[in-house]
């Protein structure tokens, strides 16, 4: 049995808490948030102990894993503190805001001999996995052109509006499409250079970005992310992988299982795409990490892979600000 303590009881914290409930060898023993109400509501899910102070939670010697679900700009501090206390760390994506911080986290986890992983959950989304399987089985030949989109409205819902503060979140390039950077990087090849365009705060409460990636193996990727859709827009992701022998297309809105239409004053259409229990992506990534901790095996999403995704995102941000393509330096950690 692996004992988990969770810090950050927002949306992700709730998602993780619900997932642990279904992981037999995990026990969510503590939850922590500066907001008592939020912490209590999540503690109820598994009957966890509530902490208002992280340091107090860490003093509990039974804790094996700290699950970090707080805003990006705080990741490093809490990860290092947890590692210092010899806890294994699951950290939500993106790993950090700078390469320096991210590398420090990876190095420190090695130094303290604790396991460290980052929540690049797109790898666990069934549709994305199925595509990777199909590519692996040679169904479309060698992948050469990859397009991804990840579109939504401006994230006004966040605590203290931290998503909207690019100093804290990195904006949509660093927070949103880093998912796709990781997916592409990991399954389709390392990135050689990046050219990106973004509104970069030019429009009020709207941002939209595109990044063109040239991979070292010659393939091209077009990665699009949006915080520019009207409020209330349906979150939507798509991908297209074109290979030498075929192509795969996915659109979350076209392949969802339920379209719900209701009228409570306004006509609202919503799209639901429930997945089979065994395929639920957040549960799958956490289960895998818990198993790694329990069996003392290598983690699936390593810290250095998270650093790589971050490096692409930072290059994209640099390109979008300078208007020039950015060639990635060999990353060192």
């Amino acid at each position: 049995m692996v004992n988990v303590a969770l810090i950050g009881c927002g949306t992700m914290g709730r998602t993780h808490a619900n997932s642990y409930k279904n992981i037999n060898n995990a026990n969510l023993i503590g939850v922590c948030d500066i907001n008592m109400e939020k912490a209590q509501s999540i503690a109820k899910i598994s009957g966890s102990h509530v902490y208002l102070k992280f340091e107090e939670m860490l003093e509990n010697e039974n804790i094996d894993v700290v699950d970090i679900c707080i805003p990006t700009y705080m990741h490093k501090e809490y990860a290092l503190t947890s590692m210092e206390a010899r806890k294994h760390v699951f950290c939500e994506k993106p790993i950090a805001l700078t390469l320096k911080d991210a590398n420090e986290m990876v190095r420190f986890s090695e130094k303290m001999s604790v396991k460290f992983t980052v929540g690049h959950v797109v790898r666990y989304f069934p549709a994305y996995k199925r595509a990777v399987d199909a590519v692996g089985q040679g169904e479309i030949g060698i992948p050469k052109l990859i397009r991804t989109t990840r579109n939504q409205g401006f994230p006004k819902w966040s605590w203290e509006g931290w998503y909207m503060d690019y100093e804290k979140s990195g904006g949509p390039i660093l927070d949103l499409i880093i998912h796709d950077f990781d997916w592409i990087n990991y399954y389709f090849g390392d990135v050689e250079r990046v050219y990106a365009q973004s509104l970069n705060g030019k429009a009020k409460e709207q941002d939209h970005c595109v990044a063109t990636l040239r991979l070292k193996n010659g393939a091209i990727a077009h990665v699009e992310g949006s915080w520019a859709y009207p409020e209330g827009s349906v979150f939507r992701t798509t991908f297209e992988v074109v290979g030498t022998n075929g192509q795969i297309e996915f659109d979350s809105l076209k392949s969802c299982g339920i379209e719900k239409q209701i009228n409570n004053g306004h006509h609202i259409t919503s799209y639901l795409s429930p997945t089979a229990h065994s395929m639920e992506p957040y549960q799958a990534e956490l289960r895998e990490f818990i198993n790694c901790v329990e069996a003392d095996t290598k983690v699936s999403v390593s810290g250095s892979e998270a650093v790589k995704a971050l490096q692409v995102a930072l290059a994209a941000i640099e390109s979008s600000l300078t208007g020039r393509p950015v060639t990635l330096k060999n990353y060192i950690h």
Partner: protein, 333 residues
Amino acid sequence: MKEKVKIGIISFEHMHALSYSKALCNIEDAEIAGIADADEFRGTQMAAEFNTKYYKYYKELLETDLTGVVVCTNNKMHCQVSVDAANKGKHVLVEKPFAVDIESAEKMLKAAEDNKIKIMTAFPMRFNSNVLEAKKLIDAGEIGDILCIIGINHGKIPSGWFLDPTLAGGGCVMDHTVHLSDLMRWFVNSEYKKVYCECGNLIHNKNIDDCGIVNVEFENGVFASIDCSWAHHKNYTIWPQVDMEIIGTKGVLEVKACAQTERIYNAKEETVGDVAWNESGDEGLIREFVDVCKTGKNPFVSGLDGAKAMEVALAAYQSAAACRTVEVEHIQI
């Protein structure tokens, strides 16, 4: 009976000549007065099909009492044929891309001006009902000011001279960029400033660029990306795909110009295909050209529009070769 406007077709090298000829047959006050094609077999066949006279040499066709000609030669020949036609006082409709270099485009535009005839670019998408509706919505301010546009013009790889850069002026970047670069310039109402491109021979192994992402920036700061790849494999269910996601300050338009389709499953042939139930735009294009021939009015989509769209493709090739952004070289007229 009122006299019909006499239109000549110069070459069926580009397969669009066929749909343009069919469209001409549907216009009551127009007639195909002759077909010129250096390929005797193809030319006589087409002349028989459209019940008109065949000319081996286009210059002979230009000696007749035509009002206008449709130029569907290979891209390289556009210049010579258009200039000759203009010098004979014929209005000209040139297949896209308008030309293969700036110098040729300038010659064509100058010949038109000198001879006081109208030269028009064959951009059927300008007459596509979805595109026209989008333009109307944009001009009515429904999505506010345009911030950026993400465009995809995927299609199947053509054959023959299309794969010879000396005749086509390039591969997919020349062939497919221009449709969207024209539409975007029309929507945004600003001129192109900067271009970045990643492209290559990635999918079909035909020794010509078949994959390309072109990132552009307008004088007014709007940015856009154009995916001009011949990305569809032979069993793709439809041809072509012309999509634009237009992000505005008040909303988003998703335009799928060729998506009005229905699906046919043919069990006998074991095929699945999507067929369009809406007219693509060819008819409107040809009707407009007949109007230009009748009245001498300025065409709805001019030769200069075609030249401006081509400038983007030329800049894209420069960018791809140099691995940097390039300023768009504008035509001097």
